[in-house]
């Protein structure tokens, strides 16, 4: 009975894995880097002039001047607080690209304002490095260039396949769990070895994968699910439910001079959450009947609701507390549950240690999908019999091997190349984002073509060399900046930026070692394998 189901689920696991595995590899590899999005952005951004911070008490005058000159800024702007000096701040806002949807961060242009010596407002364009956002988009929409509605649906389909692959993998493993779990059988049987490793990593990181699969499905389909539930469950009352916690619209029209100074708003926030250090104020629709300002802070001991941390919503004119559902110190159990769901995906809890844990789990996840495909190839291996002519593997095995190598290692190499270019592009090109995208997709599709055109075995070696070189260039350009040999290059002797450089150094060494091992396997490994020399030479005639 059970063997019948196990056979069914084996088929389910194979197909879902094969269909979604490569997209998931990109999502997890890029996701591992997205854990450190902010340090990567700081590492990649050119030094900004320090004098651009203004005293906190000067910000009301600055806000009024900017709102007079640019009324549309009132829709959304930020008072960014200096991370070290609590009395210094910066006024910032963004201008969305034409036809951009709310998730499209990439096309936004960023601005800031400061005061000149005479007290007049000066507007400056800000250029935060777009490379980390590009990697985040790769993560969110499984390697596609833009976070649009249709791409999110596609990501949702991949997430569904991923969830089914997880459950089916578990069903296959369960009957022999006690026997197989801690078994690791290196030896002649390559497939056994890969299977043991795949099972062990998969089962140990299963809780992480369940969390990621469930939240990813929610992120992909929440708009659709809300619409459906509004019809069948809420009887069209969804909008009313969401508005229930908010104050009634206030028809009184107010002048910008009545805006409370940011310092006063911060004092009111201190009453709500005395232990927290605020990081920014986010003003929303201050000319509408429902003006709001969110005060953001990171709670080091709680599950923070968003990547920016936790927040309380205040009235920007009266200072009244409008909402504390997303502030751990004040929220009720229902919102604690909701915020935990987000936090478990965005790893906005547990500080730096937990971020490194997620980084490791995400890389292990990418490895899991890669080995899944290797197992597919290995299971279909045609063994060489004694006294028989040399054995070539069938074309479909060669194809899957070439695709796996091209897509997975191509995305790894592409991300490293586009990251390494971050310190060289400013000053060379006008459109930084476009340059980063061209570099990533150029390397990605070039790698894919290379692995297919050449053969999976040698293709993998070459792509690993490329990845090793490009990854080494990440700390390399920082080093050149530190030595001052190239004008315009920069480096930051700060923990988070050095962390980026050091991690890249370790990764480059890893890619280098893998390339060398693969090279050896081609010449010394068994010839009746897609990774052996014979198959590499016979690939083209074969496929």
């Amino acid at each position: 009975m059970y063997t019948h189901w196990a056979r069914i689920y084996k088929g389910v696991h194979t197909w879902t894995g094969l269909l979604a595995g490569m997209a998931l590899f990109i999502a997890f590899y890029a996701g591992a880097l997205t854990v450190f999005k902010e340090p990567i952005t700081r590492w990649a951004s050119p030094p900004a002039p320090a004098a651009n911070w203004v005293a906190l008490e000067q910000t009301p005058a600055l806000i009024r001047q900017i709102l007079n000159a640019r009324p549309q800024v009132g829709q959304e702007f930020f008072v960014e607080l200096h991370p070290q000096h609590s009395q210094r701040a910066q006024l910032r806002w963004q201008v969305a690209g034409p036809e951009a949807d709310e998730h499209d961060q990439l096309s936004r242009r960023h601005f800031m304002a400061t005061l000149d010596a005479a007290g007049g407002a000066v507007t400056l364009p800000l250029q935060p490095a777009p490379v980390a956002e590009l990697i985040d988009v790769l993560h969110r929409v499984v390697g596609l260039p833009f976070d649009t509605e249709y791409n999110r649906w596609l990501m949702g389909v991949v997430a569904l396949l991923y969830a089914v692959a997880l459950l089916s993998g578990l069903v296959i493993l369960l009957p022999t769990l006690s026997k197989d779990l801690f078994a690791f059988r290196p030896g002649r049987n390559r497939k056994r070895l890969w299977l043991d490793a795949h099972n062990l990593v998969g089962l140990v990181s299963l809780p992480f994968h369940l969390v990621i699969a469930l939240t990813a499905v929610g992120f992909a389909f929440h708009d659709g699910i809300y619409t459906l539930q509004d019809k069948v469950v809420h009887d069209g009352g969804l909008g009313r439910m969401f508005r229930a916690g908010m104050p009634a619209p206030d028809p009184e029209s107010r002048s910008h001079s009545e805006l409370l100074p940011p310092g006063d708003l911060l004092d009111r926030f201190k009453v709500l959450a005395p232990e927290l250090e605020p990081t920014r104020l986010q003003y929303l629709r201050i000319d509408s009947p429902m003006p709001m300002v969110s005060v953001w802070a990171n709670d080091p001991v709680a599950m923070n609701a968003r990547a920016w941390g936790s927040f309380a919503v205040l009235h920007p004119y009266t200072g009244a507390v409008l909402n504390t559902d997303y502030l751990p110190a004040q929220q009720g159990p229902a919102f604690a549950a909701i915020n935990t769901i987000f936090s478990l995906h965005f790893v906005t809890f547990g500080g730096a240690v937990q971020k490194w844990v997620y980084f490791g789990l995400a890389l292990a996840g990418a490895w899991l999908f890669y080995t899944g495909n290797l197992l597919w190839v290995e299971s279909r291996r045609r063994a060489q019999r004694r006294h028989q002519s040399p054995t070539l593997q069938p074309p479909r095995t060669q194809w899957v091997a070439a695709l796996t190598v091209g897509v997975c290692l191509g995305s790894v190499a592409g991300i490293s190349v586009t990251l390494a270019a971050a310190k060289w592009l400013p000053g060379c090109v006008e459109d930084l984002l476009l340059a980063h995208q061209l570099l990533y997709y150029g390397v990605f599709f070039g790698s894919l073509a290379w692995a297919i055109r050449l053969d999976p075995a040698r293709g993998a070696v070459h792509l690993l060399w490329l990845a090793a070189g490009a990854t080494a260039a990440i700390p390399g350009s920082s080093l050149l900046g530190a030595l001052g040999w190239v004008p315009g290059l920069w480096w930051y002797p700060r923990m988070d930026s050095l962390g980026v450089d050091l991690t890249a150094m370790v990764a480059a060494l890893g890619f280098f070692l893998m390339a060398r091992r693969l090279q050896q396997r081609i010449s010394r490994g068994p010839s009746d394998s897609v990774w052996g020399e014979l198959n590499a030479r016979g690939y083209k005639g074969n496929a």
């Binding site: 009975m1 019948h4 189901w5 056979r7 069914i8 689920y9 084996k10 088929g11 389910v12 569904l160 969830a163 089914v164 459950l167 089916s168 699969a213 469930l214 939240t215 499905v217 929610g218 389909f221 929440h222 699910i225 809300y226 459906l228 539930q229 069948v232 469950v233 809420h234 969804l238 009313r240 439910m241 969401f242 508005r243 229930a244 916690g245 559902d325 009720g332 229902a334 919102f335 549950a337 909701i338 769901i341």
Partner: protein
């Protein structure tokens, strides 16, 4: 013929599309039930709506995952469809 023998005669892939579609569509239907809403009359609206949405993925994916355990596609539609009817009935009868 015994039950085990019937199963053995089938290929593992038999009826996979019917089972998968049943899990996909009817699993979503079960996930979108009004059960949670009926059980939480005291909860504030914004939290209730969000939790009701977040409870869909676990139910949906569990049903999708186990739908391959059904003996055939039509049977999966029958059982999961019946459960969906019960849930719809609950939504119609229980005040919320």
């Amino acid at each position: 013929m015994s039950k085990a023998r019937t199963l053995k005669a089938q290929t593992p892939a038999a009826g996979w599309l019917g089972k998968a579609l049943a899990g996909l569509l009817l699993g979503l239907g079960l996930g979108c039930s009004a059960l949670f809403i009926a059980l939480t009359p005291e909860m504030a609206g914004a939290a209730r709506a969000q939790l009701a949405m977040w409870l869909v993925p676990p139910v949906w994916l569990t049903v999708l995952g186990v739908s391959f355990l059904f003996r055939s596609g039509p049977r999966a539609w029958l059982v999961l469809g019946g459960l969906n009817l019960l849930v719809l009935l609950q939504a119609a009868l229980v005040p919320r």
